[in-house]
């Protein structure tokens, strides 16, 4: 019997993904998010299985929903999920499907899969935390981090949320955009410009570089929401 404690390191993530997808079959979508997810849960987000329902927790919203094996693997490594649960994924009575369902999985903040919902859900959560003046005991404000894909950005609903978040000055909202060049018609000038023109603080990093990601997620205290554009080449993996 495996336990979470024996699968709690970054180096264990491929094995955890292998429990779901088989060792030979790592999809690009899952792998493109792996390092970002790890850095978020290992260094950035203030949330644990014990605080998964706490009002003052940080919230992570996987907007794109596709390829969630890396997400489930990180949740298992961090103790939100039992490792054996991974083996049964996508079966009828498994809580884990090809798109996550927040009602079924502890620690999953939103059900996603239909593209373009996470950013506005995240903006609403950020505005809700702020309206209720929710603070942690040390006085810090919890943050909301939403992961989107560059292809997902095609959905027009995202652009409503980008503009609204910028105007409303939601600086407790961070979006991390995984840019693996998957948008059919591309984003001339880069993804970051779509946010920048709406008043967001923009940072671009190598989506495999853990130190650079960690630095990029340093909270914005500028009255502006933060977007971290994480460039990733599908298939490449490194620390």
């Amino acid at each position: 019997m495996t336990t979470a404690a024996t699968f709690s390191r970054y180096a264990d993530l491929p094995a955890l993904i292998g429990l779901m997808e088989g060792d030979e079959k790592h999809t690009g979508a899952a792998a493109s998010t792996l390092d970002v997810l790890w850095v978020l849960y290992d260094h950035v987000l203030d949330v644990t299985p014990a605080t998964a329902e706490a009002p003052d927790r940080d919230r992570f919203l996987l907007s794109k929903g596709h390829g969630p094996a890396a997400y489930y693997a990180v949740l298992a490594a961090k103790g939100f999920l039992d490792v054996p649960t991974l083996r049964r994924w996508t079966t009828f009575d498994s809580p884990l499907g090809h798109h996550p369902d927040r009602v079924l999985v502890p620690g999953v903040e939103i059900g996603s899969g239909s593209l373009g919902h996470g950013m506005a859900l995240g903006l609403g959560s950020a505005l809700g935390l702020r309206a209720q003046r929710i603070r942690r005991p040390d006085g810090t404000e919890p943050r909301v981090v939403v992961l989107i894909g560059d292809g997902e950005l095609d959905e027009g609903a995202n652009h409503e949320a980008i503009a609204a978040a910028g105007r409303l000055g939601a600086d407790n909202l961070t979006v991390v955009a995984i840019d693996n060049g998957s948008a059919t018609h591309g984003w001339p000038g880069g993804i970051g410009r779509r946010f920048e023109v709406e008043g967001w603080q923009t940072r671009e990093v190598d989506g495999r570089d853990h130190d650079a990601l960690r630095a990029a997620f340093t909270p914005s205290r500028t009255g502006r929401p933060l977007v971290v554009v994480a460039r990733v080449r599908n298939g490449s993996r490194g620390a």
Binding site: S114, H117, G128
Partner: protein, 299 residues
């Protein structure tokens, strides 16, 4: 009704820190004072209805009680998938409050009309749908629904009945027919006064509701059992037959006839004018209802 809605929500903003209003410009002026008094709890996103619904879902995920408001077509139809995913699939609630139901915005044309709203929403599970027939019913409905966490559609109308009736889960009997009566007429929301007038000389039971979902199947079954015939005429202010399947379910254990009146499904009415003229065109004025009732009840 819109003013009663705003006044009731204003009081909730004063009393309950969970209350938050989400707007897409429509009616923003009604909440201008509240926006100043309650920073962060009146959120106008501009003309962004998709964001409006998902932002409400996000607010609800943090424990707040969102009240979301716009014209019916921009509140229910344009962001329909946000309603399905951002609220329903997340298993969170909100109170969606529409104006311009059916043909209230008759002069505005088809783009501002949504007689399909209740039927469309009825495809999703777990919604309470309220169609008040009087401003006081708007207040009573909100006072019942604001403290909860459930999903509510509150459909405001431009026309009202003379008197308010109780808002609740049960059908309210307004007139009781004899044991040999021809059947039961169900009037929804602002249809009641004209239904009463149209059926004044018929021996029928007239029941009223402003709560169409969940539908009071047991109540309708009991009323038809007490009537001379298990025949039901349902008069709704929106798409014809929206509640026909509920009537069928209620009467599944007995032979019955049923007729639905509402906005016809077969053609788009390309006309402006007044709501009264649209009601006449749809057979939803007193004369139209009276003729349909006489034909249906075979008198």
């Amino acid at each position: 009704m819109r003013e009663t809605f705003a006044a009731t929500v204003d009081r909730a903003l004063d009393r309950d820190p969970r209350t938050v209003v989400v707007l897409a410009d429509i009616s923003a002026g009604l909440f201008r004072r509240s926006a100043l008094e309650h920073p962060g709890r009146v959120i106008n996103l501009g003309i962004r209805e998709q964001a409006m619904i998902d932002v409400a879902g996000g607010l609800a995920l943090t424990g707040m009680r969102p009240v979301v408001h716009s014209y019916a077509p921009f509140l229910v139809e344009r962001p329909f998938e946000q309603i399905k995913i951002g609220l329903g699939h997340q298993d969170v609630g909100a109170i969606l409050v529409s104006i311009g139901g059916s043909y209230d915005a008759s002069e505005e044309g088809r783009t501002h009309q949504a007689p399909e709203d209740v039927a469309v929403l009825d495809t999703l599970p777990g919604w309470t749908v309220r169609v008040p027939g009087h401003p006081d019913e708007v207040r009573d409905a909100l006072e019942q629904d604001l403290p909860g966490d459930h999903r509510v559609y509150l459909r405001l109308s431009g026309t009202a009945n003379r008197a308010a009736l109780p808002v609740g889960p049960r059908l309210h009997v307004v007139r009781t027919g004899s044991p040999r009566s021809a059947g039961v007429v169900l009037a929804v929301g602002p249809m009641l006064d004209r239904v009463l007038e149209a059926t004044a000389d018929l021996d029928v039971t007239v029941a009223y509701t402003s709560t169409v979902r969940p539908f009071d199947r047991a109540g309708l079954a009991a009323l038809t059992a007490a009537a001379g015939n298990a025949d039901v005429l349902a008069v709704e202010p929106y798409l014809r037959g929206t509640s026909a399947h509920e009537v069928s379910e209620a009467l599944v254990d007995r032979r019955h006839r049923q007729l639905s009146l509402g906005v016809p499904r077969d053609a788009e009415l390309r006309a402006y004018g007044t709501p009264a003229e649209h009601a006449r065109a749809h057979g939803l004025d007193t004369e139209g209802i009276a003729k349909a009732a006489r034909d249906f009840f075979l008198v």
